[in-house]
Point group: C2
Chain length 261, copies 2
C-alpha cells in the first residue's frame, strides 16, 4: 500500500498559534523535519477573542465550553479557515508542500456528536481512530504532501463538529500506524514533564508505564500534565512507537519527555 517507512505526527497547541514569532520558528523547523509527516494544530485564543468582539456569550457547563451553533461557526472560521490556511501558506513558502484539512475534507476524520445526555455540550465530536480515512492520508504522504489538520470534524450527516485537538492528533497517529511506524511529537510551551515545573534541569527524559504509576503516586506529575500523559499512553498502547512531549522550539532536538511502553 505504501512506500512510507516512518511517519512523524506533530501536534502544536494554542500557545504556539498565539505567538507569531514562536509559530514562525516552529513552521521553519517543521519544514526541515524529515517527511512523511503530519501536523495537527490547536486553536489558540483567537476564537475566544472573536466571540467576545461579536458578543457571543460563552456558555460553560462543569468548566467546559459549550459549542452552540454560533460558536461552531466561529471555531470553523478561525481553526479551519484563518489558522489552518495561514500555517499552510507559511509552510508552502518554506518548501513544505502542505495541505490544510478539516475532518470533513475527503471524509478524513469523521466523528460522532457527543450524546446530549447527561450534559449537552453542543456540536462536539468524538473521534474513533478506526474510522479515519487512512487510505487518503497514505495517498497524500506517498505523493509527498503533508496534511495539516485542524480540530474541526464532521458527523457525515452534514454537520461540522468541534473536536479536541489532542484527540484528533492521537487518533490520526494511531490510525496512521496502519501505513507505517508512527512517532508522535506533542509540542507545547514547556520542555517536557518536569519534577519541578520551575526547574528545567528536573526534566524527566522518559516515562514508562511503571515509572508513570510511581510518579503519579508520588504527586510528581502535575494535574495539568495527567491528561496529556494519559493521552500519550493511550496512543502508544494503540500502536504508536513513542510520544515525545516537548517545547515547540525543540521540535528537531530530542529534548523532551519520551512516553513509551
Amino acid at each position: 500500500m505504501s512506500d512510507v517507512k516512518r511517519i512523524n505526527v506533530v501536534k502544536i497547541g494554542g500557545n504556539v498559534i498565539d505567538n507569531p514569532e514562536a509559530l514562525e520558528r516552529f513552521v521553519c523547523d517543521f519544514a526541515k523535519m524529515s517527511a512523511p509527516k503530519i501536523l495537527i494544530h490547536g486553536g489558540g485564543k483567537l476564537a475566544t477573542r472573536l466571540s467576545e468582539k461579536l458578543e457571543i456569550p460563552t456558555r460553560m457547563i462543569e468548566g467546559r465550553r459549550v459549542t452552540d451553533s454560533e460558536t461552531l461557526d466561529i471555531v470553523t472560521m478561525v481553526y479551519a479557515g484563518l489558522v489552518n490556511k495561514q500555517i499552510v501558506a507559511k509552510l508552502q513558502a518554506v518548501g513544505c508542500n502542505a495541505i490544510g484539512l478539516s475532518g470533513a475534507d475527503a471524509n478524513s476524520v469523521p466523528a460522532v456528536r457527543r450524546s446530549p445526555v447527561p450534559v449537552d455540550f453542543g456540536f462536539v465530536g468524538d473521534i474513533d481512530a478506526t474510522k479515519i480515512n487512512t487510505g487518503f492520508i497514505a495517498a497524500l504522504l506517498n505523493a509527498g504532501i503533508t496534511p495539516v489538520f485542524c480540530a474541526i470534524t464532521h458527523d457525515a450527516k452534514g454537520s461540522l463538529l468541534n473536536s479536541n485537538a489532542d484527540s484528533v492528533a492521537s487518533s490520526v497517529a494511531v490510525a496512521s500506524t496502519a501505513i507505517a511506524p508512527v512517532y508522535m511529537h506533542f509540542c507545547f510551551e514547556k520542555i517536557g514533564v518536569m519534577r519541578d515545573v520551575d526547574d528545567e534541569t528536573s526534566l524527566i527524559r522518559e516515562i514508562l508505564p511503571k515509572t508513570y504509576i510511581r510518579l503519579r503516586d508520588a504527586g510528581v506529575v502535575s494535574k495539568g500534565m495527567i491528561p496529556k500523559i494519559d493521552n500519550a499512553f493511550s496512543a502508544v498502547e494503540a500502536g504508536v512507537k513513542s510520544v515525545i512531549i516537548k517545547h515547540s522550539d525543540n521540535l528537531l532536538s530530542d529534548i523532551g519527555t519520551v512516553i513509551r511502553l
Copy 2:
C-alpha cells in the same frame, strides 16, 4: 496520466451561498452530477456582514474593495473556513466525497499579488492558469475525490491572497483541459442571458463569437453580463469545450446560455 474522460467544472456565486434553501438544493443536485467534477464557490455577503459587525471599515477605490490585512483575515475565515467547510460537510452527507481547498493547499492555485501601481488594492491575487497544480487535481479526480475551491489563493511566499471567484473558476477549468475535456457551468440567480431580463422566454440558448458581437452592438446584452460572457469566451478560447451560464436550480438541466466557439 489520467482515466478521466470529461470534467464538469461548476461555479456558484454568492447569491446561492446566501440562500440556505437554494444552497441545499444546489448541493443535492451537484452530488448527483456525473463525476469527475470540480466546484468553485464565491463568498456571499457574510464577509461584509462580519466586517460590519467587527467595525472594520471597507475601503473602496474606483468602486472596488481594497483587501487590507484585516479584510484578508475576514475573507479567509469566511470563504476558506465557514463557507467552504459547510459545503464540503453537506456534500459528504449526500454521498459526494468532497475536499475543500484554498489555493495554498497543495499549492493548487498559486497567484501573484497585483501590482500596487497605479492602484494598491491590497492582498489581491491574480491567477495564471499555467501555474495551477493540475497533477494534484488529476490525482484527486482519479481517486474519486471532488475538489471544492474557494477564492482564497496564496503568493507562495507566505501570504494568502483574495482572488476573484470567477477567475479561479476559469483558471481551474482551463488548467484542467490538460487532464480531459472540460465543460463549465456558471450558476447564478438568472436562467441565463436574456434579451429582456424580465422575460425568461427571451433566453438566448447559445452565443457564438459572431452572434456575441451582434448582441453587444445592438445593446441586447446588459452591462453586468458582459464580464461574465467575456470570461466565458476567454475560457473557451483557452480550450474549455463550452461554458453554460444558468440558474443554480438548473444545474442538471440544459436550460441556460451556452457559450462556445
